[in-house]
């Protein structure tokens, strides 16, 4: 009972300063009810065993220094629709017109004035579905209180990617954004998310992909060392639909990225991948994935790679649930970490739960040091030890970057990573 009391007290304290924003009233109230029913997470919750949620749930956001660099914006060479939020506040001047062929884009905060039927229907729906079998109270908190976000409706093949650019300008900013993506049958869209967003960022993305639709998601969470983030991506994908999501995380005190996918149509494909580079004993990164196969012939793949040094901690909790009747499911899961010293730590909890008898599911999890033989081989060819280590580190991450379908996007991330390694920090 002690934990329940702690949780309800923490929830009460967190809610004390918050008021429900206008619009989507029913959805927000329902979300608040879900949150109050479960309470905010606590480190004694099984699902938070490896990641202490205290700094994500406490009433005020912990301070986070700004990270300054002279690098240009990510994906700058790629023609895209830029939508800029500074500490969660939409920056109209810095943003492009919210328009591209094949897609309509609206801000969440405009939904109160406009009757956007699909958004009213979708908002909070996938998040609510994602609360079972495991509670995700921080996502419910977000659905209730998110101040803004973007609603993307792909009706055809979007002519260019949509880039949500999250700038961090205030050391104490506490931001909740909630975005929706609806991909119509046969439509296709790419969503890019870049930047740290805030000192503390709580993000929810709900993605509904109809039959034969395709959704591509590439995210880079900025390089601020002290920022904290909890993100949830809830997806529902139908027949022959494609869902692909990749996240690059470099730095950050605490990151918890949850991805919850329901494969409801036959022949659907879902790939979730992540690359993470953590340096220092105040780095903690957690990938939590839950994929449910509830249709025939589905293919899912989870590929997560982490490079950890100087006491950094990486966590992977990945689950594949194959429901009865989801025959011919092909589920693959790999989580690997490269530990560059003995102080760093990788905690993995891979799970398979299978109720169909004709499926192929596999999972693997490894953690290891850098390959000394490969290192010597490179050195013997004249490559200095540090450069050789970097090369092998990038090679280790490569498998996850290969999950990005668009080569130009993948190349941009690869080049950034190389540069960041060369500069250290």
């Amino acid at each position: 009972m002690a934990v329940a009391k702690l949780k309800s007290d923490a929830t009460e304290a967190r809610l004390a300063g918050l008021t429900l924003p206008a619009g989507l009233d029913t959805a927000r109230k329902d979300a608040l009810s879900r949150l109050i029913a479960t309470g905010l997470p606590h480190k004694r919750d099984e699902y938070w065993k490896y990641t202490d949620p205290a700094s994500l749930t406490q009433a005020d956001a912990p301070q986070a220094a700004l990270f300054h660099n002279d690098e240009g914006p990510m994906f700058d060479a790629i023609d895209r629709v830029k939508i800029v939020f500074v500490d969660g506040v939409f920056d109209a001047d810095a943003s492009d017109d919210l328009a591209a062929d094949g897609v309509t884009i609206t801000r969440l905060s405009d939904v109160a004035d406009a009757d956007i039927h699909w958004a009213t229907e979708l908002y909070g729906t996938l998040e609510a579905r994602g609360q079972t079998p495991v509670e995700r109270p921080l996502a419910a908190l977000n659905s209730a209180f998110a101040s803004d976000g973007v609603l993307i409706h792909a009706t055809g093949k979007a002519s260019k990617p949509i880039n949500l650019i999250y700038l961090h300008g205030d050391t104490g900013s506490d931001v909740m954004l909630h975005s929706l993506v609806k991909v119509d049958a046969g439509a296709e869209v790419t969503l890019l998310e870049t930047g740290p967003a805030a000192a503390r960022f709580n993000s929810v993305l709900e993605v509904d992909v109809a039959s034969k639709g395709a959704f591509h998601h590439v995210r880079s969470q900025g390089r601020d060392h002290e920022r904290r983030a909890v993100t949830h991506c809830f997806a529902r994908i139908e027949d022959e639909a494609l869902f692909k999501s990749f996240t690059l995380t470099v730095n950050g005190k605490l990151t918890r990225n949850e991805c919850i996918i329901e494969m409801l149509g036959d022949d659907a494909v879902a790939h979730v991948a992540g690359a993470c580079v953590g340096d220092g004993n105040d780095f903690h990164h957690d990938d939590t994935v839950f994929i449910t196969h509830d249709a025939l012939n589905g293919e899912s793949r989870q590929v997560f790679k982490k490079v950890l040094r100087n006491g950094a901690v990486g966590v992977f909790q990945g689950k594949i649930l194959v429901k009865a009747g989801a025959q011919k499911t092909d589920g693959y899961q790999i989580s690997q970490s490269l530990l560059l010293d003995e102080d760093s730590q990788f905690l993995a909890k891979p799970e398979l739960e299978i109720y169909a008898d004709d499926v192929a599911c596999s999972h693997g999890s490894t953690s290891g040091a850098i390959d000394e033989d490969a290192l010597f081989y490179l050195q013997s060819r004249g490559v200095p030890r540090q450069a050789a280590t970097d090369l092998l580190t990038l090679a280790f991450l490569a498998e996850s970057l290969e999950e990005i379908a668009d080569e130009a996007l993948a190349d941009d991330l690869r080049e950034r990573l190389e540069g960041w390694m060369a500069r250290r920090g």
């Binding site: 490179l378 050195q379 013997s380 060819r381 092998l392 090679a395």
Partner: protein, 251 residues
């Protein structure tokens, strides 16, 4: 070129002496072969010269053109002109062969204070050299040595040697795992690199490689020492009579 005097070394972590005083002098442009039974210390010598971890030098010296090799990091030895063709080339998943070659070439150029090769120039050179070794575009694109056959791996070693243009090349059992045709191809690659300014140390069990790469001097190594030195005829003697007679002679 390469001057080794009384080199002694232990295997670290194990109280085991591998080299018990090796003396070897290789002049510029010369090809020397070291033959010897398993466990005689041939491969260890190549590892110690190239700077692999795990060995402790307990005495003696090794110098390349007068510079103390044992004092250098492996990459410094490489930049100074030393090259080891590995008996078991290492597979490096995720690193493209071309990226690997360019990184290595440019790292050495940088270490020597030379300009890095442009991508275009590099490509031209590597394509020409790869063609001579019958290395196709696909092998250049694939990750380093991953999924390569034994012959492909060894040809890839020779390609690296050709690109890096070292002055002292050590070939550690380059013939192992090769069929006759592959061995010929590798030997041709090596012979093409022979020049007045470049020396070779060829480590092998068998005489047959030396039919293709003709040595000037042949050394027999046993129990951590060079026990006999002679001309090419020494290799033939080993081929015909085995090592037993030679070993008995010394004792």
């Amino acid at each position: 070129m390469l001057e080794i005097k009384g080199l002694m070394a232990d295997l670290q972590d194990e109280d085991k002496t591998i080299l018990k005083g090796v003396d070897l002098n290789i002049g510029a442009g010369e090809v020397h072969a070291i033959m010897g039974p398993n466990g005689s210390g041939k491969s260890t010598l190549s590892y110690i010269l190239s700077g692999k971890d795990g060995y402790e030098v307990t005495g003696g010296s090794a110098a390349l053109d007068g510079d103390d090799l044992l004092d250098m990091e492996p990459e410094e030895r490489a930049a100074a002109g030393l090259f080891l063709a590995f008996q078991y080339p290492v597979e490096i998943p995720g690193v493209g062969n071309m990226t690997f070659l360019r990184t290595a070439v440019n790292a050495q150029r940088k270490a020597r204070g030379e300009d890095e090769l442009s991508a275009g120039d590099f490509l031209k050179i590597v394509r020409a050299k790869a063609k001579d070794l019958q290395i196709d575009a696909d092998m250049l694109k694939r990750p380093v040595n991953v999924g390569f056959s034994g012959g492909e791996k060894k040809r890839n070693e020779i390609l690296q040697m050709a690109m890096l243009e070292p002055k002292m090349c050590i070939l550690d059992e380059t013939d192992s795992g090769l069929d006759v045709d592959a061995m010929k191809l590798v030997a041709e690659g090596v012979n093409a690199l022979r020049s007045a300014g470049r020396s070779f140390l060829v480590i092998t069990h068998y005489q047959r490689l030396l039919d293709h790469i003709k040595p000037d001097v042949v050394h027999i190594m046993a129990d951590g020492r060079i026990i006999k030195t002679g001309g090419p005829e020494l290799a033939l003697e080993v081929e015909n009579n085995g090592y037993a007679d030679l070993l008995a002679e010394v004792v």
